[in-house]
């Protein structure tokens, strides 16, 4: 057992070394740092579990988010097969655009809002069956095999980020079923891609639209674009007062 662990740890270290070598090389080659895509991060071998050496997160620039654009929402729901039944109150919304108007200055901003992938997720704390869970790499998910559909996590979530499936579902792309709770998975199937983590659908769509308001990356990797941007320009957490240490951060939210 212990030998096996050592072996796999050795393996992981190997990957990390390779990865570091690769990123340094690339960083040396590129002229403008913004040009590197986050997808350059190292690939996790399919037989290895997600590791707490990574923490995946998003950074969203409220100033770059275009008020008329809904492409992140459409892309997310297309990617994950989230279909609606024409009722916004009961339809699943993995990600939604929120329009904020400052009461003082009347300044209007829009931002996408989704599961904030907290380090200390209240939804995980309250779940009686441990269906609501956080992966080692910080992705908060619902294990629908264990979800009894009590919705206590929805009561606990400060962001209203979770949806209960009110209707029977068919033609799923990724698992989702009636009577269970679901939310943004940070496109975890893309994170686990054997060829290396890819941008979530929302980020991809935002880039494709030319807004480039969202960055995806490893918050624990000092060389990742997201970490560098956070370090340089700062970023806020929504409901920072709760001390949840969210994995999704916002810039220029004022």
């Amino acid at each position: 057992m212990s030998r096996k662990t050592n072996q796999s740890e050795g393996k992981i270290n190997q990957y990390r070394r390779n990865f570091l070598a690769r990123t340094t090389a690339i960083a040396g080659m590129t002229v403008a740092p913004g040009v590197i895509l986050n997808s350059v991060a190292q690939a996790k071998p399919v037989d290895q579990p997600a590791s707490n050496k990574n923490r995946w997160g998003l950074l969203i620039d409220a100033n770059k988010c275009s008020s008329g654009c809904n492409s992140c929402v459409t892309a997310c729901h297309e990617e994950n097969g989230v279909t609606g039944f024409g009722n916004p109150e009961t339809d699943a919304q993995w990600i939604r655009k929120v329009k904020l108007t400052d009461k003082q200055t009347q300044k209007v901003q829009t931002i996408p809002l989704m599961c904030q992938h907290c380090e200390h997720p209240p939804c995980v704390d309250v779940c009686p069956t441990n269906a609501s869970m956080k992966r080692e790499d910080g992705v908060v998910l619902v294990d629908k095999h264990a979800c009894i559909g009590c919705r206590y996590c929805m009561m606990a979530c400060p962001y209203g980020a979770r949806s209960f499936l009110h209707e029977p579902t068919t033609e799923q792309k990724y698992p989702r079923g009636q009577g269970t709770v679901e939310s943004c998975t940070l496109c975890v199937h893309r994170i686990d891609d054997p060829n290396g983590p890819r941008n979530p659908a929302c980020v991809e769509a935002c880039n494709a639209e030319g807004h480039k308001a969202m960055w995806f990356g490893d918050l624990k990797d000092p060389n990742s674009e997201i970490t560098k941007r956070l370090k340089e320009y700062g970023g806020v957490q929504i409901r920072a007062d709760l001390g949840l240490n969210t994995g999704v951060r916002y810039q220029n939210l004022s």
């Binding site: 579990p49 008020s67 279909t83 609606g84 024409g86 080692e136 068919t170 033609e171 799923q172 009636q178």
Partner: protein, 163 residues
């Protein structure tokens, strides 16, 4: 769980000898698309799979969902891709059809499974899938037609909203 397993094993073992007779009432299993390897045919020896496929799938599901281990050998998705491949007419059975690979046996043995309440019962990336995707897209578009104008309008108006 255990009870279900016992019933299933009893049912399968009781009827296995009959399977030689093609004209029996036994379900006819759709052929797999290809062999996993030449020795075991399926991802484990066939008789092991008959008895214990649910254990492999169960184990894999926790590994995949909770740890992110995405090996293909025991993945439900791979089962579906290989065993529920579209026929020559490009038709693919859904879990509710008795021709569906899983349903053939499970209907026969009256063992109810709820895998497909959440999981896709059809393979992805086959030719048929194209149709489904556009269908899903239409459905999505349909939803979008209902919802988006409101949002778009909401989001487009830079002025103070009605509230």
């Amino acid at each position: 769980m255990l009870l279900r397993k016992i019933i299933f094993i009893l049912a399968v073992t009781a009827f296995l000898p009959l399977s030689a007779h093609a004209d029996s009432l036994l379900p006819e299993l759709p052929k797999a698309k290809k062999n996993y390897n030449d020795q075991t045919k399926c991802v484990e020896p066939v008789e092991v799979m008959r008895k214990s496929h649910m254990d492999f799938i169960m184990h894999q599901r926790d590994d995949t969902l909770r740890k992110g281990i995405r090996t293909k050998q025991h993945s439900l998705k791979e089962c579906i891709d290989c065993h529920n491949a579209p026929g020559k007419d490009l038709k693919v059975a859904s879990a509710n059809d008795s021709e569906h690979f899983c349903s053939t046996c499970h209907v026969y043995t009256a063992v109810q499974i709820d895998c497909f309440k959440c999981h896709a019962d059809k393979p992805e990336n086959t030719q048929y899938r194209h149709k489904i995707t556009s269908q899903a897209f239409k459905q999505h578009k349909f939803a979008a037609q209902n919802l988006n104008p409101k949002t778009l309008q909401l989001l487009a108006t830079e002025k103070e909203g009605h509230k």
